[in-house]
Subunit: 353 residues, 2 copies
């Protein structure tokens, strides 16, 4: 089991260190992991001049899974577009063909107070957002900024083919089948032809999944319904840009994005796993960051890439138990709980394993 | 002062009737309104075969302002794209050049409980979202669904020119100047060139508005920040599709979209005014709908098109006073308040005028 480790920028290295300790604990237990570390994002720009060096891409391609910390930071914001850290992220997604982004939005009972929403609306929240990750307006051609009739014009292309929609649809239907059996496809079919095709294909696939109830929602309504009554959702499937917006909105409903992992998968369950939160440059290097989302990303990796369901659940149970014991990093701290730093949180998870 | 009245579908006619009674009360007071009524949306399809009949467009063009109820309903959902009610809406926006959509998200203190969010996070919420309404991926060419390499492909074009961005920027800067002096421009410049130009132009305009503090936010982060801490925003300006999503999310933060009006303006303050909520087919014709958003749309019309600030405030004060008196339609009812229907709510506002 070969894992390519990309700590990245900001708090990335700190949280990754704790995730690797958890992996190590499992290795001692008999799971034969090998890891290799490389640069992605701002640190790669500093080391090599580009955000996704060939060496990193080679290692990532050769590995079974990629574990990523976080990329980005203000010191790289002024760089030209193709050198910015997030280009590295977009590049590795596309190069590894990681078209299926799974973004769970789960509210742990112990953290219910952290939500902006009233507890009765979010207690027990458990949504899985399935976002298409290698198509749509993110990669569509033509794109650019150019002068037309004497003024600048900026343009991008939203585009999906039937086969792209079908393969993300398959992932979403299969996840819905293993969960609550409800799949909500989000589009803007009343305005965008591209998403009309999206809806058509989702409907065409429905007969293959008689055990899944398919519904449709317009993206503006979905943004509202997530606020109004988030628990109405089980699995949500949508395109890259709508998924970017809605998965962040859904994550924030929990109030604790420091807890949320994500997986980005290709057609053979190879995947890249990363926390949903960013690189938090403001607290980087201070030992304050919450490593739990990265640790939970390890659990997702064990589940989706390595089919080690028992080991995945062991990590998830350990995380629940440290929460129950009252351990909290600053981002999820409330009076009456026990404030710890990044390393102590890692210690607590390992102890609970 | 010529007003074109488009009651539309569903609850549209009921709520419009109350808004017109309020207008009538002001007419008796000396404001010389003339109104003419026409069909838009589903009712227009039924009457004429198209959602935006020429006759309607002619009346709307000849008027100083348009007052719209709501359009759409399930009975027209199966129609081909170009005949659906929302085509009428998109058509009239484009034909009248209504590029500036103002969508306030205001939480009335009396209705604080209606919000999904904890009261301390939303009490006193007052955001103005300025959404560009006649450009972007809504109208961009090329667009369509076609067969390429043996499979269907759906595509749309996101596009903005410098002058389009500049004219909506001007509206937003000027509104920010009259409000709290804070303008947040929302884009996805880290991925989309189109919105990189958007950000560039917003920055280029800043020196003309030294009294306004400009900030920028990525759309995914904006969707999060609206949930996390909505009161950080004063005026938000963004493109058509991001504005569609964020303005609905912001509206739902208040928990009472039955209260929210909107304005869509051209370059000469001609405008179309409509409630943010939809046509609510489920309660149509039952006398249950909340007419306050439509009545408040009349206030916006008086302010923006007719520069009758005093009359606008008179309506707004009357609405606040009926809320303070405890009048509530079903959508905003809570125990201890007085449940009324559409007409009684209209009566109460007129009495409070
Ligand atoms: C950093 C950015 C390019 C990226 C995206 O938009 O996909 C991020 O927001 C995400 O959701 O992973
Ligand atoms: C009905 C639809 C076309 C419309 C839009 O997307 O603009 C609506 O959602 C709105 O916000 O007014």
């Amino acid at each position: 089991m070969k894992i390519c480790v990309l700590p990245g920028d900001g708090i990335g290295p700190e949280i990754m260190a704790q995730a690797l300790r958890v992996l190590d604990a499992l290795r001692t237990d008999g799971l034969p992991f090998e890891t290799e570390t490389a640069h992605l994002g701002g640190c790669a720009v500093d080391a090599t001049g580009v955000p996704l060096p060939d060496e990193t891409l080679k290692l990532a391609k050769a590995a079974d899974a990629v574990l990523l910390g976080a990329v980005g930071g203000p010191q790289w914001d002024a760089l030209p577009r193709e050198k910015r850290p997030e280009r590295g992220l977009l590049g590795i997604r596309k190069e590894l063909n990681l078209f299926a982004n799974l973004r769970p939005a789960i509210l742990y009972p112990e953290l219910a107070n952290a939500s902006s929403l009233k507890p009765e609306l979010v207690a027990g929240l458990d949504i899985m957002i399935v976002r298409e990750l290698t198509g749509d307006i993110y990669f569509g051609q033509p794109r650019g900024i150019e002068v037309r009739n004497g003024e600048r014009v900026g343009y991008n292309t939203m585009i999906y083919s039937e086969s792209e929609i079908r393969r993300i649809g398959k992932v979403a239907y299969e996840i819905a089948r293993k969960r609550g059996g409800k799949l909500c496809s989000v589009d803007k079919m009343n305005v965008l032809e591209c998403t009309q095709l999206w809806r058509d294909v989702m409907i065409e696939m429905a007969p293959d999944y008689p055990d899944v109830t398919l519904s449709h929602m317009l993206v503006d309504n979905a943004a509202m319904q997530l606020v109004k009554n988030p628990k109405q959702f089980d699995v949500v499937v949508t395109g890259n840009i709508f998924g970017d917006i809605l998965s962040d909105e859904a994550a924030m409903l929990t109030g604790s994005i420091g807890m949320l992992p994500s997986a980005s998968l290709d057609e053979n369950n190879k995947g890249m796993y990363e926390p949903c939160h960013g690189s938090a440059p403001d607290i980087a290097g201070k030992g304050l960051a919450n490593p739990l989302a990265t640790i939970l990303s390890v659990a997702m990796m064990l589940r989706y890439t390595f089919s080690q369901e028992a080991a995945a659940q062991r990590i998830e149970t350990a995380v629940k138990s440290v929460l129950a014991q009252g351990y909290r990093t600053g981002d999820i701290f409330e009076p009456g709980t026990r404030k710890v730093g990044t390393i102590e949180m890692g210690d607590a998870v390992i102890a609970a394993l």
